[in-house]
């Protein structure tokens, strides 16, 4: 419920990076750089081995982070180590939530072949949200958890005062909109186009239609999928969005830096600059929207 605050005064810039990409140390620098560049919320990916909704850019980020040893337990420590003021949203896939075992309330980690399953207080969504909240996470986007299956996680979020963000796709219509509207909090993630994540050269025409479908919802609307430039961000905000979510365009910078062996500071600077471009674009968009509609 708290996340709505960041969309209140001006359009929000919501960057996504995968935690631990390409290493914990670098990744911490990058998140902090994004804040410096104007991030209002950070969507921090908890990497899952089967990122079925991601394009090749974010698949690469996830693979690098996993390779570097990122795990859910490590992720929360990572969050605790971050020195940022902006709220953090955990973006992940449901199996990691479902399997999560709280290190203190839970039993000691068991190897998969011996583990018992099923949700308990110390295991599953409740344990996950509890630990996330302890670490400072304020909200969740679970990519493969549609509203229909979200009951347990929604309940845990309520208990720990966290937001649960849902994605509205261009194909989402009818009844399903209703059930998502009921459960969503923090903001609604408006998917700008069909497909998987990935930076694009243009803004989808379907963005406006999607925004129209949630126009009367009382949560902020953040648009993501394919946004790459300040100009994109401007256009999206001008079209009525309350925020822009940008992932692949930032991850591309990290990937390039990683491949070129660039040093962390240089990459962080580039991220900060890109963040600034996007935030500026969003602000310009808001001014245009104000000029046009008021």
């Amino acid at each position: 419920m708290a996340l709505e605050r960041v969309f209140a005064d001006e359009p929000a810039f919501v960057p996504y990076v995968a935690a631990g990409d390409p290493s914990d140390e670098a990744s911490i620098e990058y998140v902090e750089a994004l804040e410096r560049g104007g991030a209002d919320v950070v969507e921090l990916g908890l990497p899952f081995s089967e990122p079925i909704a991601e394009g090749s850019t974010i698949q690469g980020a996830v693979a690098r982070a996993l390779e570097a040893g990122m795990t859910p337990q490590r992720y929360f420590e990572f969050v605790e180590e971050l020195d940022v003021d902006v709220p953090l949203v955990c973006m992940t896939y449901y199996n990691l939530v479902y399997q999560y075992e709280h290190p203190e309330t839970g039993e000691s980690e068991a190897v998969a072949s011996e583990a018992t399953s099923g949700e308990t207080a110390s295991r599953g969504p409740r344990a996950f949200v509890e630990r996330a909240a302890e670490a400072g996470i304020e909200g969740f986007v679970v990519v493969d958890l549609p509203a229909e299956e979200a009951g347990p996680l929604r309940a845990a979020c309520d208990d720990f005062g966290c937001d649960l963000v849902f994605v509205i796709a261009p194909t989402t219509k009818g009844e399903r909109l209703g059930s998502m509207r009921e459960q969503v909090s923090g903001y609604v993630y408006v998917q700008a186009r069909l497909g998987v994540t990935g930076a694009r050269e243009d803004v989808s025409d379907r963005t406006e239609q999607s925004l129209a479908r949630v126009a009367d919802w009382d949560v902020p609307k953040a648009v993501g999928f394919g946004i790459k430039t300040g100009a994109h961000a401007e256009r999206i905000i001008a079209a009525g969005a309350d925020g822009v979510i940008v992932g692949s365009a930032l991850v591309d910078i990290i990937a390039e830096g990683h491949e070129d062996g660039a040093d962390t500071v240089a990459v962080a600077d580039r991220l900060e600059a890109k963040a600034r471009e996007l935030k500026e674009g969003a602000l310009t968009g808001a001014r245009r929207a104000g000029a046009e509609t008021r």
């Binding site: 899952f48 081995s49 089967e50 990122p51 079925i52 909704a53 991601e54 394009g55 698949q59 693979a63 996993l66 795990t71 859910p72 337990q73 896939y93 449901y94 199996n95 990691l96 479902y98 399997q99 999560y100 075992e101 980690e109 068991a110 190897v111 998969a112 072949s113 583990a115 018992t116 399953s117 099923g118 990519v143 493969d144 958890l145 549609p146 229909e148 299956e149 849902f166 994605v167 509205i168 796709a169 261009p170 194909t171 989402t172 219509k173 399903r176 998917q191 069909l194 497909g195 998987v196």
Partner: protein, 434 residues
């Protein structure tokens, strides 16, 4: 047949939002065309299964095996289905359904290439453009099937992520679907994925047991004591079990019955998984040297469904392994997981060695060359025939032609007394490829 989205605790629809509308549309189509037979869908499906697929298929008395085990062993001959495996039952059903739904394009993933081949054949038959995602590693392992798909006019798109096998191919197909969902139907290849796939694929495959049950009564005047099928995702398994599931006995079942002790009043169902080289896992490497998710996995969410999985303690999916590409998958159908939990289906497994020996045994003694997947069921029969009663049906889910390369290679590594000497192949052909 049910339209429930879950089977006990398993199943559900864990997919990205953009796919949900397609899944709702599919659910609707499944209910209308498959369950309610609207517009004569099921008639057309059955007619095409007969004319194009070659059904009905025999339930054959296996004379040598019956003598060997002193048990009436029957083979349900899905290897004779067009394409060489049970996969066409499902592929034809789904491609036809896509046509009824007005879809314009078919996509599918494939591991061993059997589902891809079946889908490509069905798509060619029904004149639908088709694209198949296949891991790079599998493309190398299964060149003949790649050739068949291309020949049938399908695009074959290599998937280079991860280990380049089935798991990655499924993920990649889901990504395509997320982009093209409005015009495209994703033909999932087994009883996995979000509802309604597990139920729908089972229904298309149920023709196996519909025939087998009737044929069993016709041939032996009674129901079998045991029915065996290999289990990867579990589609041939569920297809072979479906019409026997209700033929349950009264007494609770217990593992390890010995001959004579077994109940006479129910049909025991055995899902034989790939034990690979070992049932243990390498947590560090994220690798399970087997694909025995029913036997050794635990609950989790993968590719749209809650089911039994091979995963590490964090919930990351492990790379599975099996000598048979078609069983090489970290998950399993949710309904099968449920039936195992319920005690209705027994989850068992045999290792690579046993499957390979069974491959050679069935080929040599019966003149039926099984797929390596199928061979697992016969490996179990060899090891446990005296616990299975007097009348056993084994599903021959596919033929082994596709496995030539693998069998040559894997046989050479081992000292199997049932394996033939294949030096004629090497000497006459020199070191050329196949």
């Amino acid at each position: 047949m049910s339209t429930d989205k879950t089977f006990g605790d398993y199943g559900g629809q864990y997919v990205p939002e953009s796919l949900m509308p397609a899944i709702e549309e599919l659910t609707d189509a499944y209910e209308r065309y498959v369950l309610d037979d609207e517009d004569g869908f099921m008639d057309e499906f059955r007619r095409r299964l007969a004319d194009f697929g070659g059904r009905p298929l025999p339930l054959q008395h296996a004379e040598s095996l019956s003598a060997r085990y002193d048990t009436a062993v029957y083979l349900k001959r899905e290897d004779l289905l067009h394409g060489g495996a049970h996969k066409l039952n499902n592929a034809l059903g789904q491609v036809l359904l896509a046509k009824y739904m007005g879809k314009e394009r078919i996509i599918a993933e494939t591991g061993a290439g059997q589902h891809g081949t079946a889908t490509a054949m069905a798509a060619a038959h029904l004149d639908m453009p088709c694209e198949i995602y296949m891991g790079e590693t599998d493309i190398r392992r299964q060149r003949p099937n790649v050739f068949r798909m291309r020949t049938n006019g399908a695009e074959v798109t290599p998937v280079t992520t991860g280990r380049g096998t089935l798991k990655e191919a499924i993920s990649e197909t889901m990504r395509d679907w997320a982009t093209t969902v409005e015009t495209t139907h994703y033909v999932i290849g087994s009883v996995v994925g979000p509802a309604p796939f597990p139920a729908m694929v089972r229904d298309f495959q149920a023709v196996i047991s519909e025939e087998a049950r009737e044929q069993a009564i016709e041939k032996e005047g009674r129901l079998p004591d045991a029915v065996l099928a290999c289990a990867g995702g579990g589609s041939n398994t569920m297809g072979t079990f479906a019409h026997f599931v209700d033929d349950d006995g009264a007494e609770p079942r217990s593992a390890g019955r010995s001959s004579g002790q077994r109940r006479r009043d129910g049909v025991d169902l055995y899902a034989v998984e790939a034990g690979g080289s070992s049932l243990s896992v390498d947590e560090e490497e994220g690798v399970a040297p087997n694909s025995a998710s029913l036997s050794t996995g635990d609950e989790g969410v993968l590719h749209g469904a809650r089911t039994k999985l091979l995963q590490d303690s964090h919930g990351q999916i492990m790379e599975s392994h099996s000598v048979s590409a078609g069983l090489d998958y970290a998950g399993v159908g949710p309904e099968l997981a449920h039936l195992v939990d319920e005690g209705r289906v027994e989850a068992v497994n045999v290792d690579d060695d046993s499957a390979l020996a069974a491959f050679h045994r069935l080929s040599r003694d019966e003149g039926v060359i099984p797929a390596l997947e199928t061979a697992h069921a016969f490996g179990y029969l060899e090891e446990h025939h005296d616990e299975l009663g007097d009348f056993v049906v084994v599903n021959v889910s596919g033929r082994g032609d596709k496995d030539l390369e693998t069998v040559l290679e894997e046989t050479e590594k081992r000292d199997l007394d049932v394996a033939p000497d294949i030096s004629v192949l090497r000497s006459a052909a020199g070191e050329e490829g196949m």
